[in-house]
Subunit: 450 residues, 2 copies
C-alpha cells in the first residue's frame, strides 16, 4: 500500500514530482508510526547478532515493548570502535548464506570495518539512491556518468544500482583519468555526473587545458557532489565552472553508503530518509540530545536493513536539523551540509578549529582559487597555523603591495572566525599538491618538529 508498483513508476516516470509520492510526503505522525514499527523490527533483528545479543537494554526493551521513538535514547550508542572490535562477524544479524555483499574499509590503519547486505538490503539501498537522485531532478532520460571509484568503496556500486533503478543510462566510468572522463561525457552526451567536489576543480582544469569549456562543450545540467565536506561557496563555484546545478549527497558506508540524505531541487539542506533511518543530533561532549537547529554530532539507527541493523551509530559528522518545512512538500526532515567531523577538529594555541571554518572564509573571496591547505607547525618555539592559499591566475600578479593587502585581509578574516591569527601564504595557482581522491587539507607537523 505504501510502495508503488514498478509498472506504475515506469508509465509516468517523467510526470511525477516524487519517486515515491506517498512515502516521501507521509504526514509526520504517520511517518513516526512507521518508524516505531520498523524500529521494533530492527531491534528484533539486531538482537540476533552477537554484538547486540549482549545488550541488556535492547533485551529489556524488546520484552517490555517500545512505545515511542524517544525511548531509543535509553539504548547505548554504537561507535566505529565497536564495529572494529567485533570485526568481522559480530554485527551480522542474518544467516551467512543470506548475505550477498559486503563492503569493507581498506583498513590500512587500525582494524577494518565491514557492512553486510542481503537481497532486501541492496534493493532498499538502490531504491533510496533512486529516490535521492529523483529528488535532485534526475530523470530516466538522463545519461549519468559515475566518476566514483568502484569495488569496496560504496560510491561506485551504491550509485550504480540506484542509477539503474531510476532507469537512467549509466556510464560506470570509475574515478580518475580526466581525459577519458571528458571523452565519455562528449561521446555519450552525459547530462548528470557524480564526483567528489575536490576532483571537479581538477577536471575543470583539464577541460580548459584541452581548449574546452564544459558549459559549452558538454550537455551536463546536473552534478552530484558528496563524500567530502564542502562549503556553499564551493558548490556555487562548481556550478559556475560547469554551468550546472550541483546537489549535495550525503552517506556513509555504515549506513549503506550514498543515498542516506540528499538535496532536493530547492537546494536548502538534505532530506534525510526517515523511513529508513532514525536521526538524532547529540552534543559530542555530553552525549545529550540537541534540539532542532543546534549543531552537533549526527547519530543514526537503520530501520530497513536486515543483514546488519546498526543502532544509534555515532557518525562523527557534524550537522544540525534544519527547522521548518521544505517547499518541495517532502516531510522527511533536512540536515544542514556537513561542517566537519567531530574528530577532524584540531586544537591549536587553545582554540578549537574545524577545517570547514577556514574553507568557509577562503571560498567567499573572489581572489582565491580552488585549492588550499592548513599546516600546523612548531616554529620559533611556538605552535602556528599556516594557511597556504592558491590564488586565481589573474590575481597572482607582480603587484606585491596588492598581494600583501590581500594576505593581511585573509589573516584578519580568519582570526575573526577561529579566534587565532594564522600565518597566510599566498601561492601560485597549481602549486599545491593535487589529488584524485579526497584532498588532504590539514597537515600536522607539530609532533615531528618539536
Amino acid at each position: 500500500m505504501i510502495m508503488e508498483s514498478d509498472a506504475t513508476r515506469a508509465m509516468d516516470s517523467e510526470n511525477r514530482t516524487y519517486w515515491e509520492s506517498e512515502l516521501e510526503t507521509l504526514p509526520r505522525a504517520e511517518l513516526e508510526k512507521l518508524q516505531l514499527r520498523r524500529l521494533n523490527e530492527s531491534l528484533h533483528l539486531a538482537a540476533r547478532s552477537p554484538h547486540y545479543a549482549k545488550c541488556a537494554q535492547i533485551g529489556r526493551m524488546l520484552r517490555e515493548g517500545i512505545k515511542s521513538i524517544e525511548q531509543i535514547r535509553e539504548l547505548p550508542f554504537t561507535t566505529k570502535d565497536d564495529l572494529r572490535q567485533d570485526f568481522p562477524w559480530g554485527f551480522l544479524a542474518a544467516d551467512k548464506r543470506e548475505v550477498i555483499r559486503l563492503h569493507s574499509s581498506s583498513g590500512t590503519t587500525g582494524n577494518p570495518t565491514v557492512v553486510f547486505h542481503n537481497q532486501h538490503d541492496l534493493a532498499s539501498w538502490a531504491n533510496l539512491m533512486a529516490r535521492s537522485l529523483y529528488a535532485a531532478g534526475v530523470r530516466q532520460t538522463d545519461v549519468f556518468q559515475n566518476m566514483s571509484g568502484y569495488g569496496l568503496f560504496t560510491g561506485g556500486l551504491g550509485f550504480q544500482y540506484g542509477i539503474e533503478r531510476l532507469g537512467c543510462l549509466s556510464i560506470p566510468a570509475g574515478a580518475g583519468n580526466s581525459l577519458r572522463q571528458i571523452k565519455l561525457m562528449r561521446d555519450f552526451g552525459t547530462t548528470v555526473a557524480h564526483a567528489i567536489p575536490s576532483y571537479l576543480g581538477r577536471l575543470h582544469e583539464v577541460f580548459l587545458a584541452e581548449g574546452l569549456d564544459p558549459r559549452r562543450d558538454t550537455q551536463l545540467h546536473t552534478l552530484v557532489i558528496g563524500a567530502e565536506p564542502h562549503t556553499e561557496e564551493q558548490r556555487r563555484r562548481i556550478e559556475a565552472m560547469f554551468g550546472v546545478k550541483a546537489y549535495n549527497s550525503f552517506g556513509l558506508s555504515e549506513m549503506n553508503g550514498p543515498g542516506v540524505a540528499f538535496e532536493c531541487t530547492e537546494q536548502n539542506g538534505l532530506h534525510i530518509w526517515e523511513d529508513a533511518y532514525i536521526v538524532e543530533i547529540i552534543d559530542p561532549q555530553t552525549l545529550e540530545p540537541l534540539p532542532d537547529g543546534e549543531r552537533g554530532e549526527l547519530v543514526m539507527t537503520t530501520l530497513d536493513r536486515q543483514a546488519m541493523p546498526v543502532i544509534r551509530y555515532r557518525t562523527r559528522d557534524l550537522t544540525r536539523i534544519l527547522p521548518g518545512a521544505c517547499p518541495c512538500g517532502r516531510t522527511h526532515r533536512r540536515i544542514d551540509r556537513i561542517t566537519g567531523r567531530s574528530d577532524d577538529m584540531f586544537i591549536i594555541k587553545g582554540c578549537n578549529v574545524f577545517p570547514m571554518q577556514v574553507e568557509g572564509i577562503l571560498m567567499k573571496l573572489p581572489e582565491v582559487g580552488d585549492n588550499y591547505r592548513i599546516i600546523l607547525d612548531h616554529l620559533d618555539d611556538q605552535d602556528e597555523m599556516i594557511v597556504e592559499v592558491e590564488l586565481k591566475r589573474e590575481w597572482f600578479s607582480g603587484d606585491v603591495e596588492r598581494l600583501t593587502r590581500l594576505q593581511r585581509r585573509i589573516a584578519h578574516l580568519l582570526r575573526d572566525e577561529v579566534l587565532l591569527r594564522p600565518l597566510v601564504r599566498l601561492v601560485e595557482p597549481g602549486s599545491l599538491p593535487r589529488t584524485e581522491s579526497k584532498a588532504v587539507r590539514v597537515i600536522d607537523r607539530r609532533k615531528t618538529s618539536k
Copy 2:
C-alpha cells in the same frame, strides 16, 4: 515454463545439479527450435538499429521468414571495425530511454566501441553468469572474492551481478593490491575467487613473501580464471599453487562480458550458452564455416539481447567446437580453450606464429617458471624471435652446462612447434617485468630497430 521461479531456486539451491535444469539439458532439437525463434526476434530488433537497418539481407530474411539456423550464413559478418565506425549510437536497437547501462572500451588507440544494455539484458547477463558459476560448482554458501577491475571493464560488474544473483556472499575487491586481497581472503574466509591467470602467479609470490601458503592459510577451493588466454599447463600450475580447482571463464564485452562460456566441473571444455548465442566457427582466411572439431575463428550472434543485438560477430578468438557430449548432461556444446586471437598471430621469417604455441611448449617443462616473453627483433641484418624464459629458483643454478643443455632443448622444441629456431634466453626468476593487468607477452622491436 522454461524459467524456474526464484522461490523454487532458493528452496533447493544446494541440491540441484543445474542452475536451470530444463534449459541447460534441453534436447538439441528443442534447443535449436528455441534458437530459431530467438534468432527471428533478434533480427527484428536488430533491424531497428541504424547499422542493421541498412542491411538488405536482414530485410529480405525478415520478409521471407527464416526456416533454419543455417540460414544465418546468408547474413554478413559484423566486425570490430563496424562497431567502431558506427560508434556511438549506430548499433542501438532500443529507445535510448530504455537503456540503463553502457560498457565502452577505453579506446586509447583507434575509436572506442560501446555495448548498450536494458533492464532485460542486465538480468539475462546476470543469470548466464550465475548459471556459469553454478556449473563450476559455486554455491550460495560460498564467499566469492572478485579480483577484477570494476567500472567500464565488464569483469567487475559482470561477475558482481552474477555472484549476487547466485546468492553467494560477494566481496567486490577490485584488481590489484595483493596484500589487501590476502587480508580480505583471510578475514572473510573466501572460498572462491576470480582473477586473470597472470595475476595469480604474482599473488602467490606475495603469499609466500608474507610467509603464508594459500593451500593452508585460506579456505579457497575454487578459482575462476579468464579474460586472458592460457594453457592447460598454466591451469594445473595455478591449481597446485593454491590447492584448488581452477575453471576457465570466457567472455567478451561485445557479447556482454563474462558468462558467455564456462567450464563445468568436468573441466573438459567450456559450455557455450546456446540459448543466448548462436555459435559458428569459420576459417579466418576463407570465412567458410568449419566442421566441429576444427580450429578457427569464433563467430557469435546474440539471441537474448534487446538493446543491442549483434549478428555474426567475428570475435577474432581462435577455438574449436569439441565433439561429443559432456558427462555433466548439459546439452550446450563446448568450445576448447582459446588458443589465441586471429590478430595476435605474428609472422616472422615467413612463419605464422601464435604466442599460445610458445606458451604451450614452455609450460610443459618442469624447469620453467610462470613468466616469459617473446621479443621480435632485427639483429645482424635479419629478423629474430627471442624467447626470454624465467626459470624456477631451484633450476637457476651455477651449472652452466646444464643450463646450456636446457636452452638447446627449449630451442629445439620450439622449432618443432613453430617451424623456426628462436634465440632462447634463460633468466633468473623475478627478472622479467610483472604486471597486475594482462601480461604483455610479445614485444615487436623490428620496426624501431630497422
